[in-house]
């Protein structure tokens, strides 16, 4: 059993959109649960004798953040990240839960792998929700056993990292998943258009001599999967949306009442293709960084609700995969420890309010995956993040908790930081003394 203690988070700004709360108050954690929330004017509830009391004047107290798109690399690529190091990075970034993608070795395409991940995650620093594969071995040929994986603890299915090229297989995946109440997550990419591509196709790819990935490679597949979701009536979640036209398509589908949700990554609203300057492989990912116009469309979609979730697509790679010629380098960047400051930039610039920020990073992913958390309900498990929205710092490689250091934000000045993370009443990250 994990030992938990009573904690009093005093005088912070409690932001809990699920309960329509945004007020200055204190929050008491006892026996791993949220015991009470009370404002300075309200009567203080009886406090236990042994109590850690933390003054949080000017800080935000929010439901623990939930990243519904991470790669923990275990089993198979433990030199890049493990469930332990990945969840420590999550805790350091304010996350109390992560959903991990199935493209491990072996692939999480059956209950035994799902169980293995959950066993390894028992003492992790965050809740781990395995996402199973859509197709056996991510081969795109036949359905994996959704029912058994769900029973074992999987919360969704995806072939993330690869598209499901066969439209019939994707249709059947949506239909079959709905019978098991499992969410299907689409990695939308028309591989015949994107194959061998390194960065977004356009002036930057032309001038750097790099093979481009056209934005239509994403949009064509977004459209196909939206059409399948509408036709079958089955729910669909679209991962890592990066282009303006994808967003237009999703907006239209939502207007028609299709059961679809969508996520984007912090890099898609923080950087453009220009970040690959001088062949910086830490700015190489799939889908690639796009143009200013796409970045603006992503921000608009975040503010108007077309995008439901900010998920990092945390993709650790070691220097073995990254310190290479650009076209040889692997796709992906780490994201768990920079999501809060990057999302806060949207808040500071006035694109979203604080409640919306919490929805994007906690309430909505909990709802979409059907997992606990996402609110500060009295009596619920104490999954809490304390955020200092003002704290400025320059990201140094040595301060990164994740085992891999492939971040394009190293050396960049960021504002906003997770000060304290509490998962099930246990403090998993504490930067208050820093």
């Amino acid at each position: 059993m994990i030992r938990t203690q009573a904690i009093l988070l005093k005088n912070g700004r409690i932001i809990d959109p699920a309960n329509r709360v945004d007020k200055k108050a204190s929050l008491l954690v006892e026996k791993g649960k949220i015991k009470a929330i009370f404002t300075p004017r309200q009567k203080t509830p009886p406090l236990p004798k042994k109590l850690q009391s933390i003054d949080l004047q000017g800080k935000w107290i929010v439901p623990g953040l939930i990243d519904m798109h991470v790669h923990l690399r275990e089993p198979g690529e433990e030199y890049k990240e493990t469930i332990e190091t990945g969840t420590r990075a999550a805790a350091a970034g304010g996350f109390t839960a992560v959903a991990c993608m199935p493209n491990t070795t072996p692939v999480n395409d059956c209950q035994s792998v799902t169980r293995l991940i959950l066993e390894k995650a028992e003492n992790a620093y965050a809740r781990v929700y395995p996402v199973g594969a859509i197709s056996k071995g991510l081969q795109g040929e036949s359905l994996a056993e959704f029912g058994e994986m769900k029973q074992a603890g999987a919360v969704a299915v995806t072939d993330d990292g690869k598209p499901v090229t066969d439209s019939q297989l994707m249709r059947r995946a949506l239909e079959y998943a709905s019978s098991h109440n499992v969410m299907v997550i689409s990695h939308s990419e028309d591989y015949s258009l994107s194959r061998n591509g390194a960065i977004n196709e356009g002036f930057v790819s032309t001038s750097m001599g790099l093979k481009g990935i056209p934005h239509i490679a994403e949009e064509i597949m977004v459209y196909r999967d939206l059409a399948l979701a509408e036709y079958t009536g089955c729910p669909l979640h679209l991962a890592h949306i990066s282009t303006q036209e994808s967003i237009n398509l999703i907006r239209l589908a939502k207007q028609k009442g299709s059961p679809v949700t969508a996520e984007t990554g912090p890099h898609y609203f923080s950087l453009t293709e220009k970040a690959v300057k001088d062949y910086n492989t830490n700015a190489k990912m799939n889908p690639p960084l796009r143009t200013q116009k796409d970045l603006e469309a992503v921000i608009e979609a975040i503010s108007d609700g077309t995008i439901d979730v900010i998920a990092t697509d945390h993709a650790p790679h070691s220097i073995l995969e990254k310190d290479l010629e650009f076209d040889q380098a692997a796709n992906g960047i780490i994201g768990l420890e920079t999501a809060v400051p990057l999302a806060l930039a949207l808040f500071r610039k006035g694109y979203i309010n604080a409640a919306r920020l919490v929805e994007l990073l906690s309430t909505n992913p909990a709802k979409i995956l059907g997992v606990k958390g996402g609110s500060l309900e009295i009596g619920s498990d104490a999954d809490i993040a304390v955020i200092d929205p003002e704290h400025s710092f320059v990201l140094h490689e040595r301060d990164i908790v994740s085992k891999s250091k492939n971040s394009p934000f190293i050396g960049v000045k960021l504002q906003g930081k997770a000060l304290l993370t509490i998962c099930g009443g246990r403090i998993t990250h504490n930067a208050i003394s820093d």
């Binding site: 790819s205 001038s207 001599g209 290479l324 650009f326 076209d327 040889q328």
Partner: protein, 310 residues
């Protein structure tokens, strides 16, 4: 040299990084070195005691020999390393290969590599001067410079000339360096070819895209067809060489719309009868072999300048 220009580049990675005075200085330096190759004793001592390593990860005859001859004419010692495949499939990383070579204290590494940006990668990691002899589909600066030199020699100027580059612009590092170089020096660059071979937004590099080759070649001072490949990495680009030659090949007939004294250039190797009619390749308008001769002078100048010559 008589020029007052201070050449401050340690590496030659592309024409993108060179200023107009830099390019002029290189061309002037090369012009003055050209005479050395006509002497009976073709050797000057300017790079005596210097070591030049040519590191080629792609096959090359012309460029490699040209760098080798250029270095030897300057009395440098030259060494060649070939790798038929990329460094990663060979098992050793490019950084390791380069650091091992560097540990033997060469003065210049001349590298050709199939990955765009490989020379930038190298220059960021080692202290030795790097000269890019072609990186992926990015740049081929010495070829761009020898093309500028050849045109300047024959036309007396570059500014205001119309240069037509025809064919596979997408996969040609030569086209890329030429578009940048000729535009910087004030020429008007026009490109044409099947749309499958014209990269996105290439016009922002300072060139005009023509839908027909007649439009590109019309009144041109320089016509440069590029080597064509039918497909690359399972990407279908053109249906057949036969059809390409019929619609986009440079022949006598299409040259009628160019200036009568238009120069015919080609970076080589030529697919005779595909992008260039043999008749035209061997005509008096063709300066293809002058390009090769000038290549030696340009490479002499580049090696001299990156090692601090003035």
């Amino acid at each position: 040299m008589s020029s007052e220009h201070l050449f401050a580049h340690k590496h030659i990675l592309g024409l993108d990084h060179l200023s107009v005075p830099d390019i002029e200085h290189i061309l002037n330096t090369a012009e003055s070195f050209k005479e050395i190759s006509r002497r009976s004793i073709k050797k000057v001592p300017v790079l005596r005691g210097k070591t030049v390593v040519t590191l080629f990860f792609e096959p090359s005859t012309r460029t490699r020999l040209s760098f080798d001859i250029a270095a030897k004419r300057m009395s440098a010692d030259t060494f060649s390393i070939s790798a038929s495949t990329s460094s990663t499939t060979k098992g050793e990383s490019l950084a390791d290969t380069a650091k091992n070579i560097e540990a033997m204290m060469p003065d210049i590494i001349v590298m050709r590599h199939p990955s765009s940006g490989a020379s930038n990668y190298l220059a960021n990691r080692i202290n030795t001067s790097v000269i890019n002899a072609g990186d992926g589909t990015h740049e081929h600066p010495s070829q761009g410079l020898l093309d500028l030199m050849t045109v300047k020699e024959h036309k007396g100027k570059i500014k205001g000339l119309k240069v037509a580059i025809i064919g596979d612009i997408s996969h040609s590092r030569v086209a890329h360096s030429d578009i940048i170089g000729f535009s910087k020096m004030g020429a008007n660059v026009f490109v044409s070819g099947p749309a499958t071979l014209i990269p996105k937004k290439i016009s922002r590099l300072g060139t005009r895209i023509c839908t027909t080759i007649e439009e590109a070649v019309n009144n041109a001072d320089v016509v440069m067809p590029l080597r064509i490949q039918k497909e690359r990495q399972s990407d279908p680009l053109i249906p057949s060489f036969r059809e390409y030659a019929a619609f986009f090949g440079i022949n006598r007939q299409i040259l009628q719309v160019a200036k009568p004294d238009a120069l015919i250039m080609h970076p080589g190797p030529i697919n005779r009868g595909v992008e260039l009619d043999p008749d035209v390749a061997d005509s008096s308008q063709s300066v293809i072999l002058h390009q090769v001769t000038n290549g030696v002078a340009i490479r002499m100048a580049l090696m001299y300048l990156v090692l601090g010559g003035t």
